[in-house]
């Protein structure tokens, strides 16, 4: 379990006051002492070790992409689908009986009555009906 520290770095605040590793073992303390001298005598591995003591992640690591959006969108779709189940329950237990005017038979007769009256004959319903062939226009 890492100790609680005051280290918090982000893209907009990349260099906090506290280093990432506050508690150093003997080897790391020796390295910090060596850092006080000339940096030309530090090997590449030592420089990397010093960087890792100071910072948690490099900018490349900090800015990496992730696949979090897949989990997020998957859960979004899941709950949207759950809403469909709620609507199913509503249809079974809440919806009233279908009015007689919405039954198929009534709608067919209503349609015939509108066509007899030639309702909206210019651009509307009756204009889409072929009166000679007695079918819908193609």
């Amino acid at each position: 379990m890492p100790p609680y520290t005051n280290y918090h770095a982000q893209r907009s605040y990349p260099m906090p006051d506290e280093p990432f590793c506050a508690e150093l073992n003997a080897e790391q303390r020796a390295l910090k002492e060596k850092e006080k001298g000339s940096w030309t005598q530090l090997s590449h591995a030592e420089k990397v070790a010093l960087y890792r003591l100071q910072f948690h992640e490099t900018f490349a690591e900090m800015n990496r992409r992730s696949n979090e959006w897949k989990t997020v969108m998957g859960c979004v779709f899941f709950f949207f689908g759950f809403t469909a189940l709620l609507i199913w329950w509503q249809r079974v237990y809440v919806f009233p009986k279908k009015p007689i005017t919405l039954t198929d038979e009534w709608k067919a007769q209503q349609l015939q009555r509108i066509l007899d009256m030639k309702g909206n004959p210019v651009q509307g319903l009756a204009s889409r009906w072929d009166y000679e062939k007695k079918e819908w226009k193609k």
């Binding site: 959006w69 859960c75 899941f78 469909a84 007769q109 349609l111 819908w136």
Partner: protein, 80 residues
């Protein structure tokens, strides 16, 4: 001037592609939850959503009252 900016932009593009390659090969060492299960969660969530909504739209008797044009055959109404 144009050649200068074109070369500068090309250098930027090349470097970022190398960075993408190294990032992809490095970050896969430790996979988080989204790397392991993200595709499954997304696919199953989408499938559940699509199936559920198609089902309630078509199968449970909701009246959408769509246009009769091309759909309903008229029937005699004043035959009494």
């Amino acid at each position: 001037m144009f050649l200068l900016t074109r070369n500068a932009l090309n250098r930027f593009k090349i470097r970022s592609i190398q960075q993408i390659r190294s990032r992809q090969s490095h970050e896969n060492h430790s996979q988080d939850f989204h790397d392991k299960y993200g595709n499954t969660v997304l696919a199953s969530g989408t499938a559940f959503c699509v199936i559920a909504w198609v089902f309630i739209a078509t199968q449970i008797g909701i009246e959408w009252n769509l246009s009769p044009v091309g759909r309903v055959a008229p029937k005699e109404w004043n035959d009494e």
